[in-house]
Amino acid sequence: MGRFSTRTLVAHRLFAGDILGNEEVAKKFLKEIAKGTSEKGRIRVLVVDDEEIFRETFAEILIEEGYEVFTAGSGEEAIELAKEKKPQVVFMDIKLPGVNGCEVWKMVKKMYPQVKGIMVTAYSVPDLVKEALKEGAITCLYKPFELPEVIKLLKKITEEENS
């Protein structure tokens, strides 16, 4: 698991919340933890990106949107996590330290043929994008993408999943 898994991050935020004396924030996170452990029917999303700030804040937003989120900062971590958590949707940065995102996506897709993939990249790597799309990824987003649009996209995908 990543250095900053959702859990550790939440703990970290709790701590930060205490220090700043922002109880509201702390309470909200406590509530989220409770929500995360109690509700089971949520869509599992795996976010793979080596950019920590984005990854963890994005995870936070997705949790608020009602998803169950796991995060990984490298390809190896992502594969381990995928084995354990059986994600239904994967956000995959193409450029990762070690194994590239396209390879990781192929492995995850092999494990769970039903999984939905959204590739993410900061600059044009046409060959890898093409390959990922050929291997069943739904689309490729170019950083820095617009958050509301991505949330809309995710909703659309998961609605298809549910129906």
């Binding site: 950019e51 700030i53 984005f54 804040t57 994005f58 936070e60 937003i61 608020e64 450029k95 900061a122 600059y123 044009s124 950083k143 820095p144 993408f145 617009e146 958050l147 509301p148």
Partner: protein, 472 residues
């Protein structure tokens, strides 16, 4: 040249005349000697022959006169000291082969009169056979000939006349030859050597790095061709080198830009995600929402700069699709209106109805129009009007091809004539913000779509950018 040929033939003709005269003279003398010889032979006064041959010594022109017997042995000779030491076998052989008299200039060669060139003195040699007539048979028993009569005539005088004439001609025409030589040299110098030297100097300069250098020569066609080819080569070399340097520069810049872009875009996404998160949390604090909006504006500007640099350094291929231009403009304007920069800008739209869909790279077109809209707003810091219009235009003059025209007009400060020439040049900017790539990329993008872009501006009144994109 003509003069030289004329002089050569003139001399040759003169030489022939001398030869003919000599031949005639020799023949006449021989006839006389022959008659004398016959006389003494027929009257059986052979002893007189020796006497008469000695008398011939007194004739100045005679080098030697001699009488050979049937075997070719010398019987009598006027000047025994002048007799050929090699005998007369060759001459006799020739007579028996041809059946004619022997007449020959000696020494044999190009011209016997050019005596001053060789060591031998020129002379004319003749040999005639004496027939075995019935009257001879009293003493000479058999054979066709009883003997041979030979005469060698001195031609020194003729040679002297000939050479003096030659010398005179040469001396008289010397200035002319000199003049001709100088003329030829001058002609060669002006038309060949000098231009060649100019080309050579040009080559040296090109070697030293002055690519694109041109040489000017006034010369005959062939050399002119060389100079012309040299100019073409020099120019091409310059273009190729510049292209190469640009390519290399672009490769390095591209690599750098890609690295920076990757880093910056990742960070920007982090910031964007954070502001999005903040915005949701700050719903109850509208005064802070505006600040978050400013962060977003900054992020968007950084995003644009990175995209501009990346596109300038890595042009890439177009990914075309059917595009509704009006829709793109609407999207750009609705997003721009939210920015603080546009708060004092009044936007006026006049979008043409039923424009055809164009097959374009929508992202590039969006970026181009956005750059122009942003430019217009930046030109009006105190506010003003931004008009944007689209329409379909047909080419009236040529093939009546149709294109879509987009006009983006501001009422800003305008561009000076001097700057107007440079607006599309990379890294040219008059603004404190930006790096001067926006319009360069707009132009590149439009031209990649076989379109045209024009700019018109009046200082103090405003600027208009006109884009024309071909239909179909």
């Amino acid at each position: 040249m003509i003069v030289v040929i004329w002089q050569y033939f003139d001399l040759k003709a003169y030489q022939e005349t001398i030869q003919k005269t000599l031949f005639k003279e020799t023949s006449n003398l021989l006839t006389v000697i022959k008659r004398d010889t016959w006389d003494y032979m027929e009257t059986a006064r052979q002893y007189q022959i020796g006497v008469i041959f000695k008398e011939y010594r007194q004739i100045e022109r005679i080098k030697v006169a001699y009488l050979l017997d049937a075997q070719g042995k010398v019987a009598y000779a006027s000047h025994p000291e002048n007799l050929s030491p090699y005998g007369f076998e060759e001459q006799i052989k020739e007579i028996s082969l041809t059946g004619k008299d022997y007449h020959r200039f000696k020494p044999e060669g190009v011209s016997p009169f050019l005596a001053f060139l060789g060591k031998e003195e020129p002379y004319f040699s003749s040999l005639t056979p004496l027939e075995n007539k019935p009257s001879c048979q009293r003493c000479h028993s058999s054979g066709k000939t009883v003997g041979y009569l030979g005469l060698e005539l001195d031609a020194r005088r003729e040679a002297e006349v000939f050479t003096s004439r030659l010398k005179r001609i040469l001396i008289l025409s010397a200035p002319f030859y000199l003049f001709a030589i100088i003329n030829i040299f001058l002609f060669l110098y002006i038309n060949v050597f000098h231009p060649l030297e100019i080309v050579r100097q040009g080559m040296l300069k090109v070697k030293e790095g002055q690519l694109g250098l041109k040489v000017k020569t006034k010369s005959i066609d062939e050399i002119g061709q060389i100079a012309h080819t040299f100019n073409l080569m020099s120019e091409n070399l310059k273009i190729l080198t510049e292209e190469l340097v640009k390519k290399e520069k672009m490769a390095v810049l591209g690599q750098m830009a890609a690295g920076v872009a990757h880093e910056v875009r990742n960070l920007l996404l982090g910031i964007k995600t954070s502001t999005y998160y903040l915005r949701r949390k700050l719903e109850s604090h509208p005064e802070l929402t505006r600040t978050v909006g400013d962060i977003d504006t900054g992020v968007r500007r950084a995003e644009r700069t990175v995209t501009n640099v990346l596109q300038y350094t890595q042009p890439g291929e177009l990914s075309r699709e059917a595009v509704n231009i009006n829709q793109i403009i609407e999207e750009i304007l609705s997003s721009a209106e939210k920015e603080r920069l546009f708060t004092r800008v009044e936007i006026k739209k006049n979008l043409g109805l039923s424009l055809p869909l164009l097959t374009l790279d929508s992202e590039r077109l969006r970026q181009s129009i956005y750059n122009l809209v942003l430019n217009a707003a930046q030109a009006m810091p105190k506010g003003g009007q931004l008009s944007i219009s689209t329409r379909i235009v047909a080419n009236q003059i040529a093939d009546k091809s149709k294109f879509v025209e987009i006009r983006i007009e501001d009422t800003g400060e305008g561009i000076t004539e001097e700057n107007l020439k440079n607006v599309f040049n990379p890294f040219f900017t008059t603004k404190a913000k930006g790096i001067g790539l926006g319009l360069t990329i707009v132009k590149e993008n439009i031209e990649k779509h076989q379109g045209k872009i024009k700019v018109e501006s009046t200082v103090g009144k405003g600027t208009t950018f006109i884009i024309q994109l071909p239909v179909g």
